[in-house]
């Protein structure tokens, strides 16, 4: 495959991080239990207020509320990213062994995770940036448990690294979080589903064609029969 690069397109600019989060929020079904990873995934919570979706925070909190305002700060009420949060009617607190029993045990309908790379088979690499020079050491956190335990894994990420390198690849070159775990990838250009046949391009942002997404993607894409413009 020839060199993949970030290209400048005439249409709409690529999605802001908040808009990637909105597209994912719109994929979540009412009644779902959802865990949101650090980064873009956290922003999904901004789009589900008032909806019947319950957020789990792996620190040991179910029905985690929005970020706390200045006057509501309580050092004993933080999410897994160490942000002060609010509780809600129906919130429950529990220990981390119970939290990860839920996660590994298949109680999470959806985990939304960030990623450094995703492969054509849905392998996820998200915990170790080799450039940092720490070898096999890095922040695994809850990502490996979430990747293997959640019923559905949605990756929220930008299509390219800040250096313009493609993040969707035939094979991941970074250390894996888990093999064949990703179901859907939402980037600032496209929505791609991981299927047994390969990566299926379902949506692209307005003004970007399927061919253009393929040019920006270092793994072969199958264009869905109902390929269409992403709606937000």
């Amino acid at each position: 495959m020839s060199k993949i690069m970030k290209i400048t397109l005439p249409g709409m600019p690529p999605l802001e991080r908040e808009m990637i989060a909105l597209r994912i929020a719109n994929m979540l079904e009412d009644g779902a239990y959802v865990n949101l990873g650090i980064g873009i995934p956290t922003l999904v919570s901004n789009w589900i207020e008032g909806r019947d979706i319950i957020i789990q925070s792996e620190i040991g909190m179910l029905k985690c509320g929005p970020l706390a305002e200045e006057g509501e700060i309580d050092q004993d009420r933080i999410n897994a990213s160490c942000q002060f949060v609010r509780d809600m009617p129906g919130t429950s607190y529990f220990n981390v062994e119970t939290s990860f029993a839920m996660i590994r045990g298949g109680c999470m309908d959806v985990a939304v995770l960030g990623a450094l790379q995703v492969s054509a088979r849905g392998d996820l690499a998200g915990w170790n940036t080799p450039a940092r020079g720490l070898g096999k050491r890095g922040n695994i956190g809850g990502s490996m448990d979430l990747a293997v335990g959640a019923k559905k894994v949605i990756v929220a990420m930008e299509h390219f690294t800040t250096n313009g390198e493609p993040k969707i690849l035939t094979e991941c070159s970074y250390p894996l979080t888990a093999k064949a775990c990703v179901d859907v990838i939402v980037t600032n250009y496209a929505l791609i589903e991981v299927t047994a046949k390969g990566l299926v391009l379902r949506e692209a942002i307005p003004g970007v064609s399927a061919e253009e997404v393929q040019k920006m993607t270092a793994a072969p894409l199958i264009v869905a029969e109902d390929f269409h413009e992403m709606e937000l």
Partner: protein, 236 residues
Amino acid sequence: MDKVYSSVEAAIEDVFDGAIIAFGGFFSAGRPAALTLALSKRGVKNLTVVVQQVGTGNEEMLELVVNGQIKRAVCNYPFPRSASKGARHPFEQAVRKGEIGLEIYPIGTFVEKLRCAGAGIPAFYTAAGAGTVVAEGKEVRVFNGIEYLLELALPVDFAFVHAWKGDHEGNLVYRFTAQNYNNAMAMAAKVTIAEVETLVETGGLNPNFIHTPGIFVKRVVETGKPELSGFSLGGI
């Protein structure tokens, strides 16, 4: 059966060189700040610390790093998230220099290894980490078509835990997300030392809602509420 100690210094007096110590807390919440500071003053060396991470929200742990008291760390999210913060971070730098050995597990594995140590379960299987560097050197076994890793229990000599309230017999209650690793660590340790914000008389806690029964706790010391970690205000 009165397990109350008058000071954190007295409560940790027998912590020895080379001890394996688990520290509760998830970033800032539920960290045993007072016990950790007392340990840094006590100055024992060659410690193995079992803790989510060292020094982000639980800045007291950095004293142990700076003092050169830590030989090895077992963590699940060891480094500051940003590389630039990491470049200024004493723990990350000590790991880079090889002064501190580091072992990393997925959170679920990390906490279950502790619970199992306390529960008389020497080993269990988990899918987390299969097919990754976490699997290196570990037994892989397939159940129902899925690959799992054999993970061993992680017993520790001491656990330093932080609770909201505790009674004289060691019954503990945590507050909100400050619960986190404290219970599993209390289970895993030969000697669990609990710092509590408020010490109550035995019988002063609702028996139906005890988070950690006193049988898992050897010592209790009243330390009050820890100060808000300056870090916490920023999030990671």
